[in-house]
Amino acid sequence: MFKFIQQYADKIENIEVYPIISMLIFFIFFIGLLYLVFKMDKKRVQLLSNIPLDASDEPNNQSI
């Protein structure tokens, strides 16, 4: 992959850092996200995932 990019390296200064920067941004973002998500409190997770199933918003409980 870097071979393709290097063809342009002499035309755009330091172009090879672009994909590296992008990967780093994503990687850090992703690791941070994983860490924070798995730190979430189990009870909260349960509460949140049950929001759509709150029976009060279905007064006419039809099943088809």
Binding site: Y8, F26, N50
Partner: protein
């Protein structure tokens, strides 16, 4: 705490539901007709009904009218319930509804009239672009105001998907629609050539991502748990799904431009991020399917769940195929062929279509307070739909792979084995089978129309559905060490800003360097602006939607350079507003149509436009005989030259006044050429301009060689 009584607005949900049904059927009928035109070209009746104008009508109808109204139906239903609040303003809801329908009607009128920007999925002309912006703001305003007055503290994951959709579609639409109007209905794209291509596919791919995918994922996260009556499999996974999906999607656009004149570094970025996309996409699919854990037995009897299972499975298939297609070696085979058409239809028919149907069958009986008229009809719809997808996709996969192999086939002596036309006539049976698939799918949809009509007639709309909930406490006790996401979940504005930042990173890193760095588009000194006649011809090319079937981008493969001439360079397109690289070769590439071995006489083109089959037997190109009688509108020439100059095309000051003189001179030259072929025609007919443009294509490079 005092419980408040309030009412959900079901009327707006009903309106959008009926609109999605109506436009869905219209979009499918136009699609089926366009598919049949590829089998029976005589179905191209009049200029208003030719394939090049109907295909944009089909894609716009399905994306913005069918899926668009489907999104709004689902959002207006689920948002109110997830927030325990009626929509903020009934007036805004109504403006949103009627505004969107007016936009659709305007599109349905302007596209057959040939009023187009010439960019796929962004064809609508600038006044409609403006209207879309206004209506989108109305939608956003209504949504955010509802979120702010909500009674539920937390924002469920579906709402994040809606917020990301709102903000990203706004950014995409604005950046793609930067154009310079030169009349009340015409404009030129602000960008040219390679830049226009990058913006286009950054937009185009993310229209798939943020119009066809993220809002529907929001709907999946609401309606699937509802229909299965159990919470989503993993809420944690849904958070990861959301953030990684919106982060990665925005980078993936350049995979539409592999092996083109787009700088390689941008292509590579597109590939890497497209491959990574498989993970969040499959995370989402697995999350959807596993929501049915322990309820799989119900899928046998519950038609709503059946539709949803097929929808989520189709999502999984399409999002596996997408990353595979972004590999350069796979793209080399699949690009420009019907494989891509099959791929997008697995998404549109499978994911969007089936999920919409599932939601409709679940929702209509509820808001009309009546059981569904016929479960059996719905089950038949399910089977017709599923079979329709298979009958649609399989022949086109086969056709795409076969045609690509034929294009790349050489004889032992090193000649191309097949003429382009041979590969087209070979595909006709596949096109016929595909039409059958489309017809099955449409039949299923018509069954649904009947079924829902009967259901609605038997019931009565619960326009205002009573509900009650405690109001949100205004002052939140701030406790330290609160989880970060807990904070964001409660703060929709911060959520929106964060989503905006995430999507802007990808867009900015891709687009800005291409614009700033001159060396991204090496200039070629022999590339000159179009003559006034060629410019007029090019605008006819755009008007007729020639780009829906012809590419103007020769990839650096021997099989292409042998067939079409030297591969395309970025510098050749610097005056192309808009770019016309195309994405599909139903007909051959035209980038060098006026140069080298491909050059034909003016008389050849004249006869070919009048009746393609008289020159190329078995051709499926529509006849453009109306251009032989239709007068070229030369009054627009000065405005066009001025607009182009503003965009940076180096026409001399004052040239706009001389332009029509040049135009007539060049036209007379073509008329004289045609005379030698015993064709007599006035120089101001449209066909003359189109011939001038076609004869110009690819000649810049040849000039350089000489």
């Amino acid at each position: 705490m005092q419980v408040e009584k309030f009412y959900y607005d079901n009327r707006i949900v009903k309106n959008f539901a009926f609109a999605t049904i109506l436009w869905g059927v219209v979009g499918m009928i136009v699609g089926l007709y366009a598919a049949l035109q590829l089998v029976f070209p005589q179905l191209n009746v009049t200029q208003y009904g030719s394939f090049g104008r109907l295909r944009p009508l089909h894609t716009n109808a399905v994306i913005f009218a069918f899926v668009g109204n489907g999104i709004f139906m689902g959002v207006y239903y689920s948002l109110q319930r997830l927030l325990k609040a009626r929509m903020y303003s009934d007036v805004l809801s109504k403006i949103h509804f009627w505004g969107w329908q007016l936009i659709i009607v305007a599109a349905a009128i302007t596209l057959p009239l040939g009023l187009t920007n010439g960019a796929e999925y962004a064809e609508l002309i600038w006044p409609i672009d403006l209207a879309i912006t206004i209506i989108w703001v109305v939608f956003g305003w209504n949504m955010f105001a509802t979120i702010i007055k909500r009674r539920e503290k937390h924002l469920y994951v579906a709402i994040w998907f809606y917020i990301a959709t709102l903000v990203t579609v706004a950014v995409l639409h604005i950046v793609r629609s930067v154009e310079l109007p030169y009349s009340w209905v015409h404009s030129y794209s602000w960008y040219a050539g390679v830049q226009d291509a990058l913006v286009q596919w950054w937009y185009g791919h993310n229209a798939v991502a943020f119009f066809l995918t993220t809002p529907y994922l929001g709907l999946m996260y609401y309606f699937m748990p509802k229909a299965a009556n159990r919470p989503v499999y993993s809420y944690r996974l849904s958070i990861i799904h959301f953030w990684t999906l919106i982060f990665l999607y925005i980078w993936a656009g350049p995979h539409h431009l592999l092996y083109t004149a787009l700088p390689n570094w941008a292509q590579s970025l597109g590939i890497v991020f497209s491959i990574m996309l498989i993970f969040p996409s499959w995370g989402g699919m697995i999350n959807g399917l596993l929501t049915l854990r322990g309820a799989w037995d119900r899928v046998r009897d519950d038609v709503v769940l059946k539709f949803m299972v097929v929808a989520v499975t189709a999502y999984g298939m399409a999002t596996f195929e997408g990353p595979m297609l972004s590999l350069k070696n796979v793209s080399a085979i699949a690009h420009y062929t019907d494989w891509i058409v099959a791929h997008v239809h697995v998404g549109a028919l499978g994911w969007n279509g089936m999920l919409t149907f599932g939601i409709l069958y679940w929702l209509i009986p509820r808001i009309f307070n009546v059981p569904l008229y016929s479960k059996k009809l719905a089950a038949n719809h399910f089977w017709l739909g599923t079979l329709g997808i298979i009958f649609y996709a399989v022949p086109l996969y086969w056709a795409g792979f076969t045609q690509s192999s034929m294009w790349k086939n050489f004889t032992e002596s090193g000649q191309l084995k097949y003429a382009f036309l041979e590969t087209v006539t070979y595909l006709k049976p596949f096109y016929a089978m595909r039409s059958l698939g489309g017809a099955l799918y449409l039949t299923g949809a018509l069954l649904m129309v009947y079924n829902i009509y009967k259901t609605v007639k038997a019931g009565k709309l619960v326009a205002d559905e009573a509900a009650e909930a405690a109001p949100l406490q205004k002052v939140e006790p701030a406790h330290t060490g609160e989880h970060w996401h807990r904070k964001i979940e409660r703060k929709p504005v911060q959520m929106m800003v964060l989503a905006l930042v995430v999507i802007l990173i990808g867009g900015a890193i891709e687009i800005i360097p291409t614009f700033l760095v001159k060396s991204n588009v090496p200039t070629i000194s022999s590339v000159k602006p179009y003559t006034p006649l060629e410019l007029q011809g090019r605008d006819i090319y755009v008007r007729e939607g020639c780009y829906t079937c012809h590419s103007q981008m020769i990839r650096p493969f021997r099989s292409e350079t042998e067939r079409y001439g030297e591969y395309s360079k970025a510098g050749e397109f610097v005056y192309d507003h808009p770019f016309q690289w195309g994405s599909k070769r139903t007909g051959p590439d035209l980038a060098r149509e006026g140069a080298g071995n491909l050059k034909k006489s003016d008389g050849w083109h004249f006869r070919h436009f009048r009746e393609p089959t008289s020159i190329s037997e078995g051709s499926i190109m529509p006849a453009y005989d109306f251009m032989l009688t239709q007068e070229l509108d030369t009054s627009s020439t000065p405005a066009k030259i001025n607009a182009m100059r503003t965009l940076g095309v180096p026409y001399d000051e004052g040239f706009e006044l001389l332009a029509n003189g040049h135009l007539l001179e060049q036209a007379n030259g073509i008329v004289n050429n045609l005379k030698t072929d015993s064709i007599r025609i006035s120089p101001t007919k449209e066909v003359i301009a189109l011939i001038a443009y076609v004869q110009r294509m690819g000649t810049d490079i040849t000039r350089q060689k000489n």
